[in-house]
């Protein structure tokens, strides 16, 4: 069945200490594995790593990767090989909201550098750093397929486009106030700006 999807449910209620998927997450992982021919379940590794990242606090610890290896019945190194190749997987802890500001051509032409500087000033951190309260991590990213609505940034599953300084300020304030109810590594969050 191809119709069922990953990420329909909200994973990650809190930072879990125990390395174990919730029942929902495990059911989704199993469903994902069934999308591929028998014996080829390893194909589901990337989708399952996305779940793991959402389940275990927004990043992939060695233990989290080992756990995914166990689910897929493959060697841990095979998981690490993949996790370390793709930029969406964070192998170090990150803040609750990871701002990824596109810096490639069309975004740069429309002021992406100024957006980055503005966020740095506003949050008091540099690119690559996380705020002391663990709320925000600032990163730069390469073209996110949003060049017509530049400049833009991605946070979790949300695209925030046609950014201005005011929009960024609002975004930061929104994420701060909604912090109590929402966790933005949550894949379910949809752009509301």
């Amino acid at each position: 069945m191809g119709a069922e999807i990953h990420g329909t449910q909200k994973f990650n209620e809190s930072k879990r200490t125990e390395i174990k998927f919730s029942e929902e997450a495990m059911a989704t992982a199993k469903l994902l594995m069934s999308n591929y021919p028998q014996g080829k379940e390893k194909s589901a590794i990337i989708p399952i790593l996305h779940i793991a990242q959402a389940e275990f606090g927004g990043w992939l610890s060695p233990e989290a990767m080992d756990y995914v290896a166990e689910i897929l019945n493959i060697r841990p190194i095979e998981v690490f090989e993949v996790a370390s190749f793709y930029t969406m997987f964070h192998l170090k802890p990150v803040g609750k909201c990871v701002f990824e500001v596109c810096q490639t051509s069309s975004c740069w032409l429309n002021g992406a550098e100024d957006i980055v500087k503005h966020i740095e000033k506003k949050l008091g951190i540099r690119v690559g750093e996380t705020t002391a309260d663990g709320m925000f991590t600032l990163k730069v990213a390469e073209c996110l397929g949003s060049c017509g609505t530049a400049p833009m940034l991605q946070c979790g599953a949300s695209y925030h486009e046609n950014l201005t300084f005011e929009k960024v300020d609002r975004l930061i304030a929104d994420y701060r106030t909604e912090n109590k109810q929402k966790n933005y590594t949550d894949l379910d969050y949809k752009n509301t700006l």
Partner: protein, 445 residues
Amino acid sequence: MPRKLLIQNVDVPGISSLETYRAHGGYASVEKALKTMRPEDVVEEVKKSGLRGRGGAGFPTGLKWSFLAKPEGVPRYLVCNADESEPGTFKDRFLMEKTPHSLVEGMITSAYALGVHTSYIYIRGEFFYVARILENAIKEAYAAGLLGKNILGTDFSLDCHVHVGAGAYICGEETALLESLEGKRGNPRIKPPFPAVAGLYGCPTVVNNVETIAAVAPIVNMGGDEYAKIGIGKSTGTKLISASGHINKPGVYEIELGLPVEEFIYGEEYCGGMRNGKKLKAVVAGGSSVPILPADLILKTANGEPRLMSYESLGDGGFQTGTMLGSGGFIVMNEDTSIVKNLFTFTRFYHHESCGQCSPCREGTGWMEKILQKFINGTAQESDVDLLWDVQGKIEGKTICPFGEAAAWPVAAAIRHFKDEFLEIARNKKFVDISHYEKLNGGLS
């Protein structure tokens, strides 16, 4: 009115739902193909249509399909390339987000033509919310008997799955995509064998771009000959163009191939001219990989003919004075733009995205970025221009996949057409950048 075949209904409220999509003629190609045509007839129509791959390379789709090996008892796969990561390109996202059923319809009709019973849509991980839109569309299609067993009561069956990636431009290269889909790092494979013979899980596989697959539906509906009447010469049909940069109306436009570039940039129906009345300086016409052209050469060929949005016209003059249609990522730059800085953003991108298998690419992209960084820092010397030229020439043609060319071409073209800008920075030991200033800061005064 220019013909639109792919995104004509995007403004219809609710078009992303199956019901509305069908009410507007959706899934007619599935009905027609499965009930009245043999698979080989569908392939024949696609051949006649002259459709060329919309992912960037422009390879004739019908021909590609006819290469698909069909050994007995071996499954075949159709994989849709929705990785869309070429800087400047966002048309596939637009199509999938606005009218997801167009892609699902194309997948079914194409799979029928190819005798495929399992298909995947590989979508870049960042497009997570788009993946969910597609998944909903697929769910609806299953429920309506358009996917699954015995589609529309025929004996054709098809499964379709969405597979999300996780951020790697190289996974747009078809063999890297297949590696990734198999659960590995996205390292391109050595070819041959081509995917048509040994693709996903070693089985015969067709990989096509989102827009290519979506175009199959109108082709089947109207017939290949009719489709071929649209466009110009060997550039048949319509094409989605992603327009961005210093223009009044950035966005995705469906054009009939053959539209004059000038009309595309200045026409009210399209980009609506340059923002703030600035002058046009340069255009990257087909995504970051294709050669940049200065204003005079993008508007007219070296022979003084009007430049058209077509594979042939954009390619006119080769790389000396021409470029490529590529993926249709059309980036427009105004008179304030630093070509050197723009190139720097491209090269930084390629360095970041190199998969690292081939030394010329892994090391060369890093060197190019470093040299360009010297220009940005104002510490470059005149000889660095020659060094940069030398390095790009040592990447091109020396790598497993065309990523090497994709990284080298923009560098070569920037030097070819804008060498003076590099030299000026080197001579003055100073780099001034105002290109990015006007949108957020209202311009430098």
